[in-house]
């Protein structure tokens, strides 16, 4: 997002609508105070523009150019990723699991939402976490996730180097693992998140197992990580388009 200095009246109404706190003030060549967007910190989420609060209609978004274009596709939920056709940052994950059978009995879905909540993440931090997880070996990042498509090497988790200085509101590193690897992934995330300059939110998905159990959540608890009492429940109204293999 940018500000047309000729139109800005310096009212500051946009400041509260910046998700990254990236709007400040500068003086133009004539000494007039005018809003200014820090281009390194702005993630092109479009919230300030959509709020329609700019007195002088001075906010504008230049046409996206690679690699900066990833900022908008990850940060503005109105923009659909070409790869997934899902607007936002991730995939359908557990939301359509009753239809797709993506997460099966004996498996867990794990996702690290880099930059969430409200802090944003540079790709250099996203790569750091992805590489730490990949280093465990035999990690299969979710192929439909846009972050996976931006990796130059999915075995190592290395991202496209052109993206390192790009910042997004949030981006999700997503994978499906056998239940026996849940604690190993938690351990790796615990270690690497000590070295990042932002925050991340950690998701854990589990198909409801026989006996109405969610063993992945128990495994997290045994690893010393309490899951929150609230979460998402797929209520099973979707008509299945898959046949589940025999229970592991």
């Amino acid at each position: 997002m940018k500000v047309d200095e000729a139109k800005c009246v310096g009212c500051g109404r946009c400041v509260s609508y910046c998700t990254m706190g990236a709007i400040g003030f500068v003086k133009d060549p004539y000494g007039r105070v005018c809003a200014d967007v820090n281009q390194d910190e702005c993630v092109d989420c479009g919230v300030c523009f959509r709020a329609d609060i700019c007195t002088g209609k001075a906010l504008f978004e230049p046409a996206p150019v690679w690699p900066r274009s990833v900022r908008g596709t990850f940060s503005n939920p109105l923009i659909e990723h070409k790869e997934t056709r899902v607007p936002g940052r991730g995939t359908e994950e557990m939301k359509t699991n009753d239809v797709t059978g993506r997460f099966k009995t004996g498996e867990a879905g794990m996702a690290i939402e880099m930059g969430r909540p409200g802090t944003g993440a540079f790709f250099r931090d996203i790569e750091k976490v992805a590489m730490a997880i990949a280093s465990l070996g035999e990690i299969h990042f979710e192929p439909k996730n846009p972050i996976t498509t931006l990796m130059v090497d999915q075995n190592s988790g290395k991202m496209n180097p052109e993206l390192m200085n790009e910042k997004v509101l949030s981006a999700i590193i997503e994978m499906t693992v056998p239940l026996e690897r849940v604690q190993e992934i938690i351990g790796a995330v615990k270690e690497v998140t000590r070295e990042i300059s932002t925050v991340c939110s950690f998701d854990l998905t589990c198909k409801v197992h026989p006996g109405d159990e969610t063993p992945a959540f128990d495994l997290a608890g045994e690893a010393g990580v309490a899951s929150t009492p609230n979460g998402k429940t797929n209520v099973g109204l979707g008509r299945p388009f898959f046949v589940e293999e025999a229970t592991r």
Partner: protein
Amino acid sequence: MSHTLHRRGTLESLKNDYVVFAMSAKGVNEVASSAKMKRFLEIVNRFGPVNLGDMRTGNRYITTEQEIVDKTRDTSIVHGVFDNRESLIQALKALKDEDMGISVIVSGLLGDVRECCREAGLKRHTCETSLGIWGKTERLPDEDILRFTTMCGHGQVPFNLIKKMIAEVKEGRLTVREAAEEMAKPCQCGVFNPKRAEAMLEEILCLWGIRVA
């Protein structure tokens, strides 16, 4: 894309906060699903949701309910928010009876939602939980602010907007309800619960000064 996960707050404040939403699986049961999305919204709307929305069209506080319904597409993700469990149970029963075959997801306290499913005659298929926030948590604002902003999982409700709304109410320029509805506007999907925001604002107003840092 777990846009309704990671809502933060005390157990008390997370009670009576239910998001129910529907979507088709791309490339699987997507074709001609927009009619089902419309039907979903119509059903949910019968039970008095406090918010309603579709990511692309917007929420009840920035557009009309009719426009939200009319503009659904096969790729839409359609949402409703309830502030009481009875409405959720009734909506789930109606959705079960409709038997549309598309996925329906409920966000809320997992144990409570399990009971609501049981009362509606449904069996949970898959659950997702949050393992919390990791990394440089010292960069985050006060938990009071996070309780509001995390109601929009796409991060479209800025920390600064919450601080601004607190100040606006304290200075008498907005009512609590107006401030809560202004907070709900940027959450395009309509999963922000303005009733919960009202209650939380009432609770914290006395704790915050006019100059909110």
